[in-house]
Amino acid sequence: MLLISSIVTGLAVGSMYGLIALGFHVTYAVSNTVNFSQGSSMMLGAVLGYTFAIKLGWPVPAAAAMSLLLCALLGLVIERTLVRPFAERGSNAWLMATVAGGIVLDNIVLFTFGKEPRAFPSFLAQKPIEVFRTGVFPLQLIIPVVGIGITIALQMAFQRTRLGKALLAVVQNKDAARLMGINVRLAIASSFALSTALAALAGMLIAPLFSVHSEMGTLFGIKAFAVAILGGISSAWGVMLAGLLYGLIEALVTAFAGSTYTQIIAFTVVILALAAMPNGLFGHAAAKKV
């Protein structure tokens, strides 16, 4: 029972890490930059979802769609103001700029949404169902399905569609891509919109299992970045699998060694894995052109 329940827990929480980490993957694959405020985007997704669905009483699908749309817009704004001005000059300052942007966002939400954690009830997280003699909420089973589904969709989109190929072409050689008629700026901007939308989706999925507040994304964002690196940030599958793996390690360590050791062991495993495989578990070394 302990084993089954920690596997269910681990997979559900792990796919959250995976979803946010996919956001890191998407922008990295297209532009070699990432948005370090992914945790805040996740929080904003949950806060907006709460505001529309609970406070304003919209139907949940409409609330979710609106929240995703607004967070995608946030992604565009982040790319335009916090990443592009630096990246186009060849500076790495987008790194600090996106971290700062996340802190600003957290604090804006603190003042507007309020200080108290709020509940985001869902019928999918009220009555537990029994799986292998362990109680789980249906939502806990849905989250990994959504996570894996999105990974497959992303992989297919990058490999099979024109747009996906165009996006990948951008990262290989911006000038060549531009000469081939690909709108490089649009490609990068849309990858940021997609990445914040993925984080927002993760936020809304986790909210009923958790509570909604301005700081809910911080730790998720950090762990998701560790997951992205662990998976080898250039592979969608790698990132999602690393997320699931990390979630499982956390839950199993807690269950069998005790919660005191969870963070120590989980992050030590990350460090050891990276020492042994510097490009991540599923990544491949970028060929350096001399």
Binding site: P117, P128, S259, T260
Partner: protein, 396 residues
Amino acid sequence: MPARNRIPQVTRRLLMASLAAGAVAIANPANAQDTIKLGLVAAMSGQSAKSGEAIVRGLSIAIDEVNAAGGVLGKKLQLVVRDDESNPAKGVVAARELVQRERVAALFGGLDTPVSIAIVPFANQSKVPFMGVWAAGTPITRNGAAENYVFRVSAVDVLVDQALVAYAMKKYSAKKPGMILINNSWGESNEAGLKASLAEKNLPYAGIEKFQDADVDVVPQLTRLKDAGADVLFLVANVAPSSQVVKSLDRMGWNVPIVSHWGPAGGRFSELAGPSSQRVHFIQTFSFSGKLSPKAETVLAALKKKYPEIKTLADVTPAVGIANAYDAMHLTALAIAKTGSAEGPKIRQAFYAIDKYDGLIKSYSKPFTPENHDALSADDYLFTYFKEGEILPLTN
């Protein structure tokens, strides 16, 4: 273009107006000689902002009563509030400013144990009485200073832990309780307290599990306690993490009694944890629910009059902040009245000289002695539970 020019003009006007307002404030130093200032350092913003609001309300109602009866030493009492943002460093800066610039006669503290612990050495050095009205950390009052200026009208962790163990034994005939504690200094202080209390009663424990503020799922920890045979859980955590414990128990279908420190009282516990929040029995020092004493009726009426936003009893939740602050302010006023000059060392001695005070929480008799700076004891705690946003007392 004209639209662009207008913005700085407006800003300039605002600036001038605020400067003017500031100048008036400086030129008119609130008739300094006619008042005795009392300082409050508490969380007025951040996640614990509601606690600061409750304390201000309790202190203000008491000050209004004292002032209506002629004040103290012929002077009116005046409250000066500073926000510590739950940050110890900011709390110390605020306390220093209140003592050195505002010249407050005494300081009051807020909800956060780490902030209060940071202020304690400063209060003792500057010989200004520091009255705790919420933070329960044991070393706040029991700080080992030769001249201890720190007093408290609130729960004390070490006594709370004794009360939790006694309640679990009496109510649930606990044989082997387990602990689920937040992983910070508050959880640690109670781990020590609970272990000591259990040892005193010769009771074994099933296990000690820690969890983090951001833990979504506490099932692994709880399953360990269940497998170890825990028959009651001791819970120490704030509102949001406490509700994660309740939700995880729901999912496991484990119907174990939960005896808790007062963390769940600090917010929307029944909203966050759902209907099962009623399972959690937690400690309080006071509740406005149930049959009220005449004193409690008077204070509640005064609260509703002064703060029209208070409509139901759910709006005076948690009541501990209000009630502790109210009694603490009256006790402080009584002490100052005995001094003649409102100087720190004299007030400290005067606290020991208070004989009787008929308060909101109880009738105090010799509330403070040189050996005991805590006005409330384990007998003054009551157990409560949350129902639809309201904290209701449990009859033992």
